[in-house]
Symmetry: C2
Subunit: 390 residues, 2 copies
């Protein structure tokens, strides 16, 4: 498989991470979030269901810690050397009386300088209280600190190569959404629609294949549109009902999510009016994007626009997006919401995600945009209108 990123690009990523570690007073950083591991090393396998970590800041260079049977995969997908990869014995897997990070702590004992400050991703997926406890118990002389989303913040501004990957994801997302809107028909089972959507996600294009998105297709239908995050059932789509398609495509784990809404039959006036207002709000939010503008200002532009239509939305309207592994394609850094005063910088990428739940019915519309010197550049191209199929 062709290399997506040069060794130089990986070195720059690790270098920027080291700079942030120094600024935050961290000697060592234990990275556990799968998207961060992929970003820093290229490591890619479904091994995150057992504990794994990349340790940065050690005198001998980065150390990758994983289950023994996964260690060959680290050597196959990264530039790390064999002596940088430690595989733990299989009898540490899922045991009540011992934890793989007991082994990691033992490995680090001789490698850490005295009184080192070690950063932990204390709110990362796949990092449990027991895992942290194993490190604390095994390294009693060490000072631990919450590194928060340090690497996630390094990921916020995308390189040219990353934007290329996201544009490829956008090409796939356009196809996926076309397939989805086509397959949602009266009498078709939701599971059969999901089947065609996932098929399109993986096929990608003739030039490049698709990867698995961090979230499976969400397609709440009928009464299900009253809430977020429902997946599918084997019930058929019915006339007179809306279906929300919250989908994505991924290319090598870089995501382009896309949400649209379909209505089978004659759409209720409220849904039509809401869709038009949301589309107008989306345009207003995109028009507000420029370098130096703050995240909360994008939300304010949206809010002012939909308020003129008597609408309001209590939840955030978007977030930073890029690499994703289950369960989330968001980066957990910037959000488009009141109070987020982060200034936009060219190369940042957001999923502007407008989900409206109106009591009896819901709808969604979204775009992924990149911040450029000229404003927002939408990565995908797909009509914004409510898709009405009568």
């Amino acid at each position: 498989m062709s290399e997506l990123f040069s060794a130089d690009e990986y070195a720059r990523r690790v270098g920027r991470t080291s700079e942030r570690m120094a600024a935050d007073g961290l000697d060592v950083l234990i990275v556990v979030e799968p998207a961060n591991l992929y970003y820093l090393t290229g490591y890619d396998a479904w091994s995150f269901y057992t504990p794994q970590a990349l340790v940065l800041g050690l005198p001998d260079g980065p150390l990758f810690f994983t289950r023994g049977i996964d260690a060959p995969g680290v050597l196959m997908t990264t530039g790390l050397a064999a002596e940088q990869v430690i595989g733990f014995a299989d009898d540490y897997v899922q045991q009540p009386d011992r934890h793989p990070f007991d082994v990691l702590a033992a490995e680090l004992r001789g490698r850490l300088r005295d009184a080192a400050t070690v950063g932990l991703e204390r709110d990362a997926y796949y990092f449990s209280p027991r895992a942290e406890q194993a490190l604390r118990d095994g390294l009693p002389g060490v000072r631990f600190a919450d590194s928060h989303e340090l690497v996630n913040w390094v990921r916020a501004i995308k390189s040219a190569a990353e934007l290329q990957a996201m544009r490829r994801a956008a090409r796939i997302a356009e196809r996926v959404m076309a397939v989805a809107i086509d397959v949602v028909q009266v009498g078709v089972r939701q599971c059969d629609a999901a089947a065609e959507i996932m098929r399109a996600q993986a096929r990608g294009t003739a030039e490049f294949g698709g990867d698995y998105p961090a979230i499976v297709p969400m397609l709440p239908s009928g009464p299900g549109t009253r809430t977020a995050h429902l997946t599918w059932s084997d019930e058929p789509f019915a006339v007179g009902e809306a279906t929300v398609l919250e989908l994505a495509a991924a290319y090598r784990h870089y995501h382009c999510p896309m949400a649209r809404t379909v209505f089978l039959g004659t759409a209720p006036d409220e849904l039509r009016r809401t869709s038009e207002a949301v589309s107008e709000g989306l345009e207003a939010a995109l028009a507000a994007v420029a370098p130096g503008v703050r995240c909360e200002e994008i939300e304010a532009a949206w809010r002012a626009t939909i308020a003129r239509h008597g609408l309001e939305k209590p939840s955030r309207i978007g977030y930073s997006v890029g690499i994703g592994y289950p369960p989330d394609w968001g980066e957990h850094t910037m959000s488009l919401r009141p109070g987020d005063r982060t200034e936009l910088v060219p190369g940042m990428t957001f999923h502007l995600m407008l989900g409206m739940w109106l009591g009896e019915i819901g709808m969604e519309l979204s775009e992924v945009f990149c911040v450029t010197e000229q404003g927002a550049e939408c990565l995908a191209s797909f009509p914004h209108e409510l898709a009405v199929k009568s």
Copy 2:
């Protein structure tokens, strides 16, 4: 959508959980693992990327805590009443200075008896050190204890209705594997094979649709078979190479995993011999299954058999299986490995998963079996032979 389980069955599940809580000295249990939430309430949505919990043992009955936009989904998929569901405000999502479990702690403050002992699933997926910290900081008078895999153990013995769901998953798994072996051909891209596999997983049968398995298709090919857990690339399958198909099907989140190996061309003698030995070892392991037999004895039967062929396997050969959400379909309770002295009981279900990594090439073969009075009942029916396509 038809109800899979009766209200009585949910009540029995909660009742057995309460008994174990009492036995372990827990007044209250905070359940966070998505599979456990589904088991105890039927709650089903892709909302586990933000914190959520079911609290058992409170004077007023169970309490479900989730993000505000997900609260309607709890009411739609469970028997809980509106006053039992608390949705947290959206500005607690992914913030460095506050955590949703600050809100949960505040909600629990008035509801907990003095000096209550509260169990936490301290090694569960989607429960982070920061989440635990929020509970400890917000409930200073409470004694916290690690409940370990308490609910997972309640899940170990399946009811008749659960076995019915797993048999449906097995019917889908047979179709999925047939599609997979058919589509792996010289020149076909791995991503296109994954596409057909995922399509078959979701379609299910004409009578019942498929759900998303907890793990995407893993299909390491060629050199990729040297390691576990690789997913797919957009490279084509090549003649002279093995492909390991580690797949599953799910019906309403109940899983039937299935692994087989395909070889394109003339299979090397070592791979053929290993496959035959593994198949013999699998039969020996299945023949050892009976009520009262210990988990480690199943592994011993396998080990003795493959040793006669000069083979050994350092990792476990199976684990308890049932409900799964990403990232794992295993239940994290029993493993088929030395030292696991759990006695088999009718209704337990295992994924007997034989992965052999031989240096330059690897292969896998697996079966899901249920423990019955008569021995092992394999849920799926699919040939064990290495699939050689010349």
